[in-house]
């Protein structure tokens, strides 16, 4: 395969959810409401890269993750993985894709089977994909526990016997059991205490170095995303509004929403405080996305054009795209 070609190539992905019509809707003849979770999302991820995806509730970041592992079937758009059309895979090919791309969830307590020991959970994944047989499986379980720094006596225990951080390690070991190339991490460390969060971040960085993993790191915590990602995509109401190399994005944001997010994230320096709100207004409901630029009702730089015309992602500098009508270089 061409080394310069992206491993994951997503184009114009769209996904919406139909809300069931309420009795009142039926009586008044109102049509059912639709949540537009993804409205034409395109991006690429290179092999071995960590792409961070940030955004607030309802921006579509989790729907995006679920589309990538085909927990949702998107309505439109394409996902290519190493040149393969992911959305058309069936049977054995689809299983092979699921082995190569693994998802790790925020809450390992609800994604691990409480009645299976760690050994059973890991062995099941290994056996399902015929990766090892017989006694080899036991050795592989030990290898995996070692990889995520869990003691080897963890194998005989059940998920409830572990702390949150340890359970997240089990979740990672479960994903790594099938020797994937790519991890989709959706709010992987959000539920953990800060000291334990740092341990898991370190583990992820180390595993990526050792195993050459490609990682899609989805989170709402900007500090974490900045720390771990090579490039970062910012989502707002179902669309990517800006994508750039991490340092470029954090030091020279080109979209007013990115700038507002950065300003709103509480800085660790008590000497630098601001008294003005970083951004006014509430997040609009994904049931009623504003026309034109979806950010225009909250944007401090809004112009007439923003209310009428939806800006498209355009180049700001090499490798830096943003969807905003402001002149490139406008001070934010």
């Amino acid at each position: 395969m061409d080394a310069a070609a992206p491993l994951i190539d997503v184009t114009d992905l769209a996904m919406s959810f139909h809300r069931p019509r309420s009795v009142l809707d039926r009586l008044t003849g109102r049509p059912g409401r639709i949540v537009h979770a993804l409205n034409g999302v395109s991006f690429t991820v290179m092999r071995g890269e960590t792409l961070g995806v940030v955004g607030e509730s309802g921006c579509g970041k989790s729907t995006l993750a679920r589309c990538l592992v085909r927990l949702h079937q998107p309505e439109a758009g394409h996902i290519a993985y190493g040149g393969i059309d992911v959305l058309r895979l069936t049977g054995a090919e689809r299983r092979a894709y699921h082995r190569r791309v693994q998802m790790v969830f925020q809450d390992p307590y609800s994604s691990l089977n409480p009645r299976m020991t760690v050994r059973q959970t890991l062995a099941e994944a290994i056996a399902f994909h015929d990766l090892r047989a017989g006694a080899e499986i036991g050795r592989r379980v030990e290898e995996l526990l070692d990889l995520v720094r869990l003691p080897s006596d963890a194998a005989g225990r059940y998920p409830h016997e572990f702390s949150g951080g340890q359970r997240q390690r089990i979740g990672i070991a479960r994903a790594l059991a099938v020797e994937p190339e790519c991890l989709i991490a959706d709010e992987l460390v959000s539920a953990l205490d800060v000291s334990v969060q740092a341990q898991i971040v370190n583990l992820l960085l180390e595993l990526q170095g050792r195993l050459g993993l490609t990682i899609l790191f989805i989170a709402h915590d900007l500090r974490l995303v900045r720390h771990i990602s090579h490039r970062v995509a910012v989502m707002y109401l179902g669309a990517i509004v800006e994508l750039a190399e991490t340092e470029t994005l954090f030091t020279r944001p080109a979209h007013p929403y990115t700038a507002a997010l950065l300003k709103a994230a509480p800085e660790m320096d008590p000497g630098r405080r601001s008294v003005i709100d970083a951004v006014r207004g509430e997040l609009p409901s994904p049931l009623a996305i504003p026309a034109g630029c979806p950010f225009h009702p909250r944007c401090p730089y809004v112009m007439a054009r923003c209310r009428a015309e939806r800006p498209v992602l355009a180049d700001r500098e090499p490798g830096h795209i943003a969807a905003c009508h402001l002149e490139p270089g406008h001070k934010l």
């Binding site: 800060v194 000291s195 740092a198 500090r223 709103a264 800085e267 320096d269 008590p270």
Partner: protein, 329 residues
């Protein structure tokens, strides 16, 4: 923060909260002392199970049996822990307001927001019905709820998460409290909404000369909002002092570890200085300093008895035997 409670608005002394059976008590809070000055924002930080929320709740006796609270909570010359229930009710929700992390569970879902504000006004002010209605609109307006008049008759579920938190603040402010207790008030909110709510609390603090105790696990929130900070670990105070001093030069190994666990700009994809292991269970607290098993500065004396909280600089106290080594680090 000295021994006497001279100019403090609230003084907490030797606060202990025990759960479990009397034979095997679990000390969620174990001998906590702190003061809050008028107009001051005190942050209480710590990880899950550190006792920060239990400490906050025991101030207003919101701990229910089998929880047992002892010590003293001195509020304007009276000990809230021994105050008769009737008098306590004037303080709770009156002189001292409370807001919680989850407004949806703290608000009454079957009463309109306007009614819940008016209820508090009825309880704690002498306003008549018309006056209460007018004041409720003023309060909602004051906390930034748009179109306050028309939203008075809305129910909590008709509000967004951020607006619900504003409504809860409006209820708390109805009685003109001198102290606001805030338990993780922005943890469930998006970052742009969190920013708005924190700035609202700070604005109200200066407009009403109100003190605030803010419990949070987020050190960024502390850095941006608090004047002073108390760091808790396994039910005890690890360190207290001015926020600027604690962030510049932490004098407890745990505070240092916490600060280093947070990713900083300019260290992209470098390993973070994490704290090994995890916080201890209350049922399995180590003999000496509870942080000793995870501590890179541990001395043999740390394992013998919990270190006392001592003054290491003016208004800055630490319960760490390595505080001098940390000052030089």
């Amino acid at each position: 923060m000295s021994g006497d409670a001279g100019d403090a608005l609230l003084s907490v002394r030797n606060l202990r909260v025990a759960f479990g059976s009397p034979q095997h008590p679990l000390l969620a809070v174990d001998g906590v002392d702190f003061d809050v000055a008028p107009g001051e924002v005190l942050g209480i930080a710590g990880e899950s199970g550190s006792g920060k929320s239990v400490t906050l709740r025991s101030i207003l006796r919101l701990i229910h049996p089998p929880g047992r609270v002892s010590g003293r909570v001195l509020w304007r010359g009276r000990d809230l822990l021994t105050l008769p229930e009737e008098e306590l009710r004037r303080v709770r929700g009156g002189e001292i307001g409370v807001i919680f992390q989850e407004p949806m569970t703290a608000l009454n879902p079957v009463l309109t927001v306007g009614l819940q504000i008016r209820e508090n006004l009825k309880e704690h002010t002498g306003l008549d019905a018309a006056g209460r209605r007018k004041r409720a609109i003023e309060l909602m307006d004051h906390v930034g709820i748009p179109a306050a008049q028309s939203r008075l008759e809305d129910y909590p579920h008709q509000f967004s998460g951020g607006m619900r938190q504003r409504a809860m603040i409006a209820i708390a402010l109805a009685s003109n409290p001198q102290l606001l207790l805030a338990d993780e008030p922005t943890t469930a909110l998006d970052v742009t909404i969190q920013d708005q709510i924190l700035k609202l609390i700070l604005r109200l603090r200066s407009e009403m000369n109100m003190s605030v105790i803010l419990v949070t696990h987020d050190l960024g929130v502390i850095a941006q909002t608090c004047d002073r900070l108390a760091v808790m670990y396994a039910g005890r105070l690890a360190e207290t002092g001015p926020v600027a001093a604690l962030f510049r030069q932490p004098r407890h190994a745990y505070t240092l570890g916490l600060l280093n666990s947070v990713p900083r700009a300019g260290q992209i994809r470098q390993p973070l200085a994490s704290i090994p292991g995890q916080p201890p269970l209350l049922s399995k607290l180590p003999e000496g300093c509870a942080f000793a098993p995870r501590c890179p500065f541990v001395l043999s004396a740390c394992r013998e008895a919990p270190p006392p909280l001592v003054e290491v600089a003016p208004d800055h106290r630490s319960a760490c035997l390595a505080h001098q080594a940390l000052a030089k680090a």
